[in-house]
């Protein structure tokens, strides 16, 4: 217990002292996961929407595959990215291995199934009368889709937040593709793993506390979105 307490006070101290390693790792974690979710959202929201609104052969297979994709372990994504980006791999020439951009690609792959599945669920869960009403009022397909997306916005926001929390707290991709290089690809999760491996348990607890605080903030946002949904 003493360890956890020391860790908590240590976390505050590190933040107050503006410890550069911690702050840079925190900032790197935030921007990489943020950008990864934004990019994955650009692709994932339309896909989830189409899966919910259109009918084609193999649609349910797609839905199941994306849903299964949510449980892919991050080390597997990391391993696949590593195999692709390795010097001997097919994309070795891009020089993405052990860079922040490599982590970004991996986290996009992590976020897409989450966003697709949750968007699909949010749009699919809308009252079908909404679509019918807009239809009867003579709106074209684009207009109709826009109405549905804005109807499902809470669900989509939840999808993005869930994906963000997952990207922020994952370790496998950041470690395997990023390599945890000090000052360059060290994120909050890899820093935590490293401080623990070094035996600096208090610093490890401090880092994970910061991570937890950010995740907590996301969860509060999440809950706040959900509350709005119920009231409506």
């Amino acid at each position: 217990m003493e360890l956890l307490w020391d860790g908590l006070t240590g976390a505050l101290q590190l933040l107050l002292e503006r410890d550069t390693l911690v702050l840079r790792a925190a900032w790197r974690s935030l921007w990489i996961s943020g950008l990864a979710v934004a990019l994955a959202g650009c692709g994932g929201i339309p896909v989830g929407f189409l899966l919910a609104q259109t009918r084609f052969i193999g649609r349910s297979v797609c839905v199941v595959l994306f849903r299964a994709g949510m449980s892919i372990p991050t080390v597997l994504i990391g391993l696949v990215c590593y195999a692709l980006f390795s010097r001997r791999g097919p994309l070795g020439g891009l020089d993405l291995l052990y860079t922040q951009w490599g982590i970004l690609v991996g986290e996009c792959a992590l976020a897409v199934p989450i966003i697709v599945t949750w968007t699909h669920r949010a749009v699919g869960g809308l009252d079908p009368r909404a679509a019918e009403t807009v239809w009867t009022m003579g709106a074209g397909p684009l207009r109709r889709w826009w109405v549905l997306i804005s109807e499902a916005r809470v669900g989509i926001a939840l999808a993005l937040l869930t994906a963000f929390a997952r990207c922020l707290t994952e370790l496998g991709i950041a470690m395997m593709v990023g390599g945890n290089v000090k000052y360059r690809t060290r994120t909050l999760t890899t820093a935590t793993a490293v401080e623990t491996a070094r035996g600096e348990f208090d610093r490890g607890v401090a880092m994970s506390t910061i991570l937890f605080l950010v995740a907590l903030l996301v969860t509060v946002l999440h809950a706040w979105c959900n509350r709005g949904k119920r009231e409506r």
């Binding site: 839905v63 199941v64 490293v194 070094r198 035996g199």
Partner: protein, 297 residues
């Protein structure tokens, strides 16, 4: 209204295959974990008689495979189970200080001395050594081949070549820092990459980026086939790497198995084990040199 209800039912039914798949994936992955974890398997087979010895050791000893050869002998001799926790030397010493393990096998003389001086340990026995080597790309851009270790480090630093450091407070990292200390301290440059990981991953990363790194002989031989890096500085006396076994001070903590820990250290320095260490080879090369072996009778 009715239509909506049916639709909802359909939606729910459609969730089922996905949920089943997720469940299977999770169950499947857990099954794999249990299979790969030797300690859990041992535990379920038969409860050991003399209890459990918790051994914290460095990743290099584990990765070399030496422990897989030595530990089963000790387990059957004592009728006990040995749980091996492989971490860097720094973390191993911390685990010892906290009383979370009974015995340590580490390689960082200065840190070991401090550990003993602070009365965290009751016994300290060096029992073998190996060598570090400096590996790098075959093209050797820093031209360090066959130099003395310190001179080689100096060249890498002045040329600002790609260098990978474990940076995890392990015995290897501590040794690197010692060499930098001789050179008047480490001044980090852009391509000095501290990765904070074990020896295996660090070596692989150096290979990917074709950089230099300091590696222990055991890990190097283990990875030799997979990497394109070549040894450039080796067999230097100043790169000698002595390993020691330490018994954690049972007077400071409850629940430590001091008797078994002592027996393990005795086992390591016993003649049969020392000979086993001398005979331990990877791809035809001896890895460790025992230091407690009597001259052949």
């Amino acid at each position: 209204m009715r239509g909506a209800l049916v639709w909802h039912r359909l939606a729910r039914a459609r969730c089922l295959p996905g949920a089943a798949l997720c469940f299977l994936t999770i169950v499947g992955s857990q099954g794999c974990v249990a299979e790969n974890d030797p300690s859990s398997v041992t535990a379920s087979v038969e409860p050991p008689k003399a209890g459990v010895l918790r051994l914290a050791t460095t990743t290099s000893t584990r990765d070399s495979g030496l422990l897989d050869v030595l530990v089963p002998g000790f387990e059957s001799q004592q009728g006990c189970r040995v749980d091996v926790i492989a971490v860097g030397t720094g973390a191993a010493l911390r685990l010892g200080e906290a009383g979370d393990v009974d015995v340590l096998v580490v390689h960082a003389r200065n840190a070991e001395r401090a550990f003993m001086a602070a009365k965290y340990g009751t016994r300290h026995e060096e029992f073998m050594f190996n060598h570090f080597l400096l590996v790098g790309p075959a093209s050797d851009p820093a031209k360090i081949h066959a130099l003395e270790p310190a001179a080689a480090f100096a060249r890498i630093a002045t040329g600002k070549h790609v260098y990978f450091s474990r940076g995890d407070d392990s015995g290897t990292h501590k040794r690197e820092l010692q060499i930098w200390e001789q050179l008047g301290g480490l001044v980090e440059w852009v391509d000095y990459c501290e990765v904070g990981q074990g020896m295996g991953p660090t070596l692989m990363m150096a290979d990917e980026k074709q950089g230099y790194t300091l590696v222990d002989m055991g890990t190097y031989l283990k990875f030799k086939e997979k990497i394109a890096l070549v040894p450039l500085v080796e067999e230097a006396n100043s790169l000698r790497n002595p390993y020691a076994a330490l018994v954690v001070n049972a007077a400071r903590h409850d629940k430590l198995n001091a008797a078994l820990a002592g027996a393990f250290v005795d086992f390591l320095i016993s003649q049969p084990t020392q000979r086993q260490i001398a005979d331990f080879r990877i791809s035809g090369r001896a890895l460790f040199t025992p230091t407690r072996l009597d001259a052949a009778p």
